[in-house]
């Protein structure tokens, strides 16, 4: 019996019980849809987060005070540092760091900003003129902090778009005075709208010169230093250079930690991949359940068609022919259900993509191929037992069955 012949026979008997064939296939479809949707959302999340990291600037080197003995790409817990990084460190890196394109100090805290009767709690970032280049920020109107202002500690600030809207509404804020933690600051610029990056609203920030920040909050150290390597290829060498320069300044102690953005990204990537696999695994359970549905229906079908099996054997079907007949039915059902699931899954992923502008599920051809193959495998696997049951019927008894 040829494969085409088996297929036609299978089609015919599936058509004879459309309702239950359809329902059984539906089980398979739901499983495949779930796999494709979950995996594509996992992939989409990964892409989204990668983009967020890249938005923070490329070739970024993050230097944080404190040292974790065990290697961790996410850096030491903040706040527990023994020795702070200082503006001196920044100057040294600028002077000796030949492989660095830019270095900027970061101080970070929160405070109240107010103007007339309006007041708002904001995150405050003390830095200098290099920050926009390193973090890929753009100035919307006015200007950013100048190099001079940063180290002299003049009380000027550049505010985010949200802060501007909340405090000034439609008015032009440039040149206006605001109060930040009870000190008067002049607004010199408004940042370009950027949106949220890694859960932080970049538009709800106030930027001020690092010295001004230190004076305002009476701090001597820095939250950290951000540097940018000249190129992707120089990244490792640049990090080694930073380490060397800072160690010399810190009497040979490596009491700071360098993290490259790439390392953070790959860590996140690993975490997200694991999550995607877990979700795909959970979805795959539903495929297995679908397979059991197929097996159940086929067992019923074998019982109903006992006489047919007996007759086919009497007119010359070998046991292998009978196995083929039922296996074909099973694989056909699971593949058809799987195809439907692929279609619904892709459609669903597309639909989710329409709902959000930032987040796009990613359907890869590999995902589709795997879901498809898996459903075929499930059909084959769960078809084996019913097919074997049918093939091991005794034709004499099968023919006598009423």
């Amino acid at each position: 019996m040829s494969l085409l012949e088996s297929l036609l026979t299978a089609l015919e008997s599936l058509r004879a019980s459309k309702g239950r064939t359809g329902l059984t296939m539906l089980g398979m479809s739901i499983g495949v849809t779930a796999v494709i949707l979950l995996v594509s959302m996992g992939e989409g999340t990964k892409l989204y987060i990668t983009r967020q990291f890249t938005d923070l600037g490329t070739n970024l080197i993050i230097i944080q005070p404190g040292r974790t003995e065990t290697k961790t790409p996410l850096g030491p817990p903040p706040g527990g540092a023994t020795r702070k990084l200082t503006l001196g460190d920044v100057r040294a890196l600028r002077k000796w760091g030949t492989l660095l394109a830019a270095v900027t100090p970061i101080t970070f805290g929160s405070g109240k900003i107010s103007r007339l009767d309006r007041q708002r709690d904001v995150a405050i970032l003390g830095s200098d003129d290099m920050l926009p280049e390193i973090l890929n920020l753009g100035v919307g109107s006015g200007r950013f902090l100048s190099a001079n202002a940063s180290f002299s500690g003049r009380r000027v600030c550049t505010i985010g778009e949200t802060v501007k809207e909340q405090l000034f509404g439609d008015q032009n804020p440039i040149g206006q005075m605001v109060r930040i933690s009870r000190s008067a600051f002049r607004v010199i610029g408004v940042m370009e709208k950027k949106g949220e990056t890694l859960g932080m609203d970049m538009d709800d920030l106030v930027f001020m010169p690092v010295r001004a920040y230190q004076k305002l909050f009476d701090q001597s150290g820095l939250f950290g230093i951000r540097a940018k390597a000249r190129s992707q290829e120089d990244l490792d060498a640049a990090m080694a250079q930073c380490t060397k320069i800072l160690k010399r300044r810190h009497q040979g102690n490596q009491d700071f930690t360098l993290i490259s953005q790439e390392a953070m990204m790959s860590t996140m990537g690993t975490i997200l991949d694991t999550m995607t696999y877990i979700m795909a695994g959970i979805a795959a359970i539903s495929l297995v359940v679908g397979g059991i549905g197929i097996m159940n229906i086929l067992l019923v079908s074998v019982a109903e068609r006992t006489r047919e099996v007996g007759l086919r054997m009497a007119v010359g079907a070998s046991r292998w022919d009978i196995v083929k007949q039922f296996l074909t039915e099973s694989v056909f059902m699971s593949l058809l259900g799987g195809s439907l699931g692929v279609a619904v899954g892709i459609g669903g992923a597309y639909g989710i993509g329409l709902l959000s502008e930032n987040f796009q599920p990613v359907v890869t051809s590999l995902t589709v191929a795997l879901a498809f193959l898996f459903s075929a495998a499930v059909g084959l696997l769960f078809g084996v037992y019913p097919a074997w049951r049918a093939a091991s019927l005794d034709p004499i008894l099968a023919l006598r069955r009423e």
């Binding site: 015919e12 004879a16 009497a314 007119v315 010359g316 046991r319 292998w320």
Partner: protein
Amino acid sequence: MASRCKSSWMTLASTGLDAMIELEDVRRVYAMGGKVGPAIEVVALKNVSLPLDSGEFVAITGASGSGKSTLLNILGCLDRPTSGTYRLDGEEVSGLSDAALARIRNRKIGFVFQSYNLLPRQSALDNVALPLVYSGVGRTERRRRAAEELERVQLQDRAHHRPNELSGGQSQRVAIARALIQKPSILLADEPTGNLDSNTSREILDMFHAMNRETGVTVLLVTHDDEVAGAIPRVIRLEDGQVIEDRRSGGGGKR
């Protein structure tokens, strides 16, 4: 057995001196039970030896439980003898594999059942063509040959009807066409008229006689109806798994 009389055309049709079917000392024992208490052996056939010539028309009669069905199953290669030999067309078949037996059923044996056993979802034509599916004949060729076979049983105008649209007699004619499509050596009929009224029964029996006469196929027909058996040239009567009578009427294959 030398005094056996044959009609002349049978001799011409036979392949040689050997009998076409030869059962020698065939025994079939079933083990019953065994789960509760000791297993009981049921002897269904006791040392049956039976030569059959090509082109013969034989009735097998006997009470139920006499071993008729067992004999038919062994002859039809659906069952194997516990001991003894079964030669079909000179080939020893009792020791063949399942797959080889399936092939023999496909090529050399045609079955006709009391309850027709047609596939309910397929047309008369496709039912007739079914054995060809298992010998790798293409769809067009299958249909062509099935149509020919249907014409032989005068059902060409019912080719596209399904079994539930056919009368009992028509269904049995479809089954006969199916049994003959591979031009088998033997046609095995198990109470083929058991579900039919007497008029239709006569029609079907006439058809068996005609097929036997026209194609030279050996026909073995199991029946418990003495009237049916009476019209058949050779009658083998079984009792308790043994042949107790092997009678030939003088008329040979002709009626």
